[in-house]
Symmetry: C2
Subunit: 91 residues, 2 copies
């Protein structure tokens, strides 16, 4: 049994309203920035999973991404394996 | 002048309370999942930047990450260049 670290990126699907992205874009002129566009804001979920293999651990992450982390109607998600650094103790 | 696409990952610093991560962890037992731990939730900001070079564009992104996207007191951020696919028309 090993521990694997993954990151799940959850982004609003194309065409779905993204109020946080619009708010950031609205702030750019105040910072004198006019070269930035197409701002989209989503979530990033990092998690550790115990599993017999990376594949088994990834299957758990994909299930959680679909059922818990994202709303598949309006958000798309992707899973990436992360290097296993000394884990930042988060508690 | 070219357009570059970047993604900025913003995560709560180690030791900083992460209520969204705790909430997700609290939901795991209801899904019958006991192999997941160290859940951390942050933001992912994707943006396009016009610039004379990737370096110049990245400098703009790093300034925005520090001044607008993240609160450096409690969040850390990192910037990654993204492949330039046909951009999902976000508007």
């Amino acid at each position: 049994m090993s521990t694997y670290r993954f990151c799940v990126s959850v982004m609003p699907k194309p065409g779905i309203l993204d109020p946080q992205g619009r708010a950031l874009e609205g702030s750019l002129p105040h910072l004198g920035v006019d070269s930035v566009h197409e701002v989209r804001v989503g979530r990033r979920v990092e998690l550790s999973v115990d599993g017999a293999s990376e594949g088994a651990a990834r299957a758990v992450v994909e299930r959680l991404a679909d059922e818990l982390f994202a709303n598949p109607l309006i958000e798309s998600w992707s899973v990436e394996a992360m290097a296993r650094p000394a884990l930042e103790a988060a508690r």
